[in-house]
Structure formats: C-alpha cells, structure tokens
C-alpha cells in the first residue's frame, strides 16, 4: 500500500492497568511494513489492550502511534487524537453490534450523526459492502437473529463503511465453534485479501495468523518477544 520506507505501523506504548490486588504493565514497541500484521500471544498477554490503545479506547501514559506516517498519538508532543477522530476500524471479539439497530442501520451507523446526514455516495458504499458480504437479504434483521458468521460480516462491514485507514480485528474466530472456524477463516482470508485497507489482527491461534498475516509480532506478559 505504501511503497516508501515509511512503515504502515509504527507503535510504541507504555501503560499500566491497575485493579485491586494486581497490576498489568504493557510496554510494547513494533513497526511493520506489511499490509497484514498479526499480534500473536496467549490470552492475558496484552494483545487486546494494545488494540484498544491503537483505537484510542485506552490511554497509554507514554508512547506514539503512527499509521502510514499519520500521527495519532505522541505523548512527547502532546498529541492524542480521540477515538472518533482516529479513523481506525475495530472489529470487536464478540462484534459489539448495536442490538437495537438492524443490519443496515448498524452498517450505516458511522455515516450519520446529530446534525450530520450521510451523503448519497456514502450510503451507496455502505449498501455495496452489505451486498458484497452477502447480507442484503438480512438488511432489516436485528443482530440477535443472525448466525455468528453473519454477525462477524456485519461488524466488518460496519467498520469498513466509514473508510478507515487501518482495520483492527480482535480474535476474529474465537466466538465461533471449531468446525465452522476452518471454513470461516478461509472465507475471511478471501474477503480480507481484497480489502484496500491495512489491517492488524489479534489472535492466540498460529493457524489464524498464518492464514491472514504476513508479519507476526509475538507478545507475552505485556512485552514483545
């Protein structure tokens, strides 16, 4: 995507999470020139926390985040874009689809706001994604009536509808049973292959990662190993 020597991802994060009786320190630094990067590690390693910090949902006390040269966070320079301005799509582990909105309303969510109407071409783009992901017949359905695979595709379409500069996938297959997993991984790999967006995938599964990513960052105990 970016042909120059500038990395797509340039990340350094230091943060500490504190709960009564325990604390977790995250201190990771990595950069990647690949369009498909994986954060691999066991559960509790700090992968999802790293993802949340990339999206702007957690605030590190020090570090920087640059996506293809665009600075989202630089604590030294006092830069810290809020999540809504980062244009980073996040597909949550359990998808977090809005339960009160239909498939189409979920996918269109980011295009409109209070006093902000979606442009016709934005709506066209959102509907095209819905069709491309085979969700056209489910446009009016609520998330609770969808299968796991369908929910995942809605979450993906919703994140892509706002044209993010980076897409984050948190354990995209953990909510699915293993028989389905193999087939969905192939479907997803095919879908993602054609997406014009760099992505970061978090997983504890070597096979998921092998099917989807070119660069692998291994994380354990809050550190890159």
């Amino acid at each position: 995507m970016v042909s120059s020597a500038q990395p797509i991802l340039d990340v350094r994060l230091q943060m500490r999470l504190q709960a009564p009786g325990r604390a977790f320190d995250l201190d990771v630094a990595f950069s990647s020139h690949a369009d498909r990067t994986a954060l691999l590690g066991p559960s509790g390693a700090g992968k999802s926390l790293t993802l949340a910090a990339l999206a702007g949902l957690e605030r590190p006390h020090a570090g920087h985040i640059r996506i293809a040269g665009r600075c989202l966070l630089d604590t030294g320079a006092g830069v810290d874009l809020p999540a809504r301005d980062r244009r980073i799509g996040l597909v949550f582990q359990d998808y977090a689809l809005f339960p009160h909105l239909s498939v189409q309303q979920n996918i269109r969510f980011g295009l409109q706001g209070l006093g902000r109407r979606a442009l016709p071409q934005e709506l066209e783009h959102a509907d095209a994604l819905m069709m491309q992901f085979g969700l056209g017949a489910l446009a009016a359905s609520l998330p609770r009536h969808l299968s796991g695979g369908q929910r995942q595709r809605v979450a993906l379409a919703r994140a892509l509808a706002v044209r993010p500069t980076l897409l984050l996938l948190d354990e995209p297959f953990s909510a699915l049973d293993s028989g389905l997993r193999q087939r969905l991984r192939e479907d997803m790999a095919a879908l993602l292959r054609d997406l014009p967006v760099p992505l970061v995938i978090v997983s504890h599964d070597e096979q998921d990662v092998a099917a989807l990513a070119q660069t692998i960052v291994r994380i354990d105990g809050g550190r890159v190993i």
Binding site: P82, D85, G89, G110, G113, L114, A159
Partner: protein
C-alpha cells in the same frame, strides 16, 4: 370530585418530568464515574425513599420556606413563595419520586455493555451521539419503568405534600389528601370513590411498568 383528580395528575406529571430529567442525568453520571464519596452521593440520592415523608417535608420547609435557606431569597428577589401552592406540591412530589427514576436509570445504564459505546466512538460518534444513539435507546426500558413508578409514587404522595402545600381544597388538595379529609369528615362514599380512582391508576401503572421490564432483551 374532579378537581383533586386533575390537580393530582397535573402535580404528578410535572413532578415526574422534573424527577425524570434529574434522575436520568444523575443515573447516567453515577453509572459512568467513580469518585471519592460516590457511595455517599448515592445514599443521599436514595434518602427520600427511606426518610419519613414528614421529615422530608420538614427539610423542604427549612430550605424553601418563606424564611428558609433558599426561600428567603426567592421571596426577596423574585417575590416567589412556594409554601401552600400547587407548585410546592410539585417540588415535594418530585423529590420523593426522584430515587425511583435515579435507581432505575442508573441500573439501566450500567446494564449497557460499555463496548457498544466504544464501538460507536471508533465509528466517529461524539460523546453526545453515544448517549443519544446508543446508551439511551438501550437503557430506555429501565428508565421508562422507573418513570412509571415515579409517577405512581408522585400520585400517592401525602406527607411531604401536606407539610409543604397544605390542604387547600381546589388549590393544593390532591387525591390522597382528599381521601384523608373525606375519612376524617365521615364522608365514606367520597373516600371510597377517591380510593378506587387512585387504586385503578396505580395498578395500571404497575402493570405497564412490569411489562416494560419483562420485554427487556
């Protein structure tokens, strides 16, 4: 006969409106923030539910009475006097029913998975949009149920209302106070009729309220 009913509905509706707005805002705020004294504030907000209504009425007199802490300025600066007025009855009923909205709204907001708000933020939503488009619609059943209970409580309010607004027929005499007076005067038919009206309205409100809670997804 009908004057106390209309007066009661007017007072209860306005009290529910004020308690609703304050209760929703406080419930949302208390569900999101943790600060020193959080549980003290929570207890203070629940206090009107456990205090005897007469004690609450006394506090209100101290606060908004003609020589009260606030009341003396209301009188001196704006010429406003709330004692023995139906507006005073609204204040009393609103305070008494506030905990019901607050408790319902806070529980409903806490029930909303925080990841929905996070998802909305990554999709470009401002905090106001998160509230209006995600948190509020997902909490609406719990809030509506709290509002119904608050309305029922406001309709039945007696003690604090009597202390603040008194018992002026046609002016501040609400249904529940009219029942009391009818019984005192030995007017049993009147008391029975008023009692039936209150009972029917309150049962209706409770049935609707429990339906709202059951239909929760």
């Amino acid at each position: 006969m009908f004057t106390p009913l209309w007066l009661t509905l007017k007072v209860a509706l306005l009290a529910t409106l004020f308690a609703g707005l304050a209760g929703m805002a406080l419930g949302w705020w208390m569900s999101r923030r943790r600060f020193a004294g959080h549980s003290v504030v929570d207890a203070a907000l629940m206090l009107p539910m456990v205090l005897p209504p007469t004690v609450l009425g006394y506090y209100l007199l101290v606060l908004i009475g003609r020589r009260g802490l606030l009341g003396q300025y209301l009188d001196a600066w704006f010429g406003i006097n709330l004692i023995f007025t139906w507006q005073g009855a609204v204040i009393a009923a609103a305070i008494v029913s506030l905990p019901l909205v607050y408790k319902g709204a806070r529980a409903a907001f806490e029930d909303v998975d925080p990841r929905f708000a996070q998802a909305a933020r990554t999709l470009g939503a401002t905090e106001l949009e998160v509230f209006v488009r995600v948190s509020l619609p997902l909490a609406v059943r719990g809030i509506a149920s709290g509002l119904m209970l608050a309305f029922a409580r406001a309709m039945g309010e007696f003690g604090a209302t009597l202390m603040i607004a008194g018992n002026l027929p046609g002016k501040t005499q609400t249904l529940s106070i009219a029942v009391y007076e009818a019984v005192q005067a030995g007017n049993d038919a009147q008391a029975l009729w008023l009692t039936l009206v209150i009972s029917v309205v309150c049962i209706t409100v409770l049935v609707i309220s429990s339906r709202l809670l059951q239909a929760r997804h």
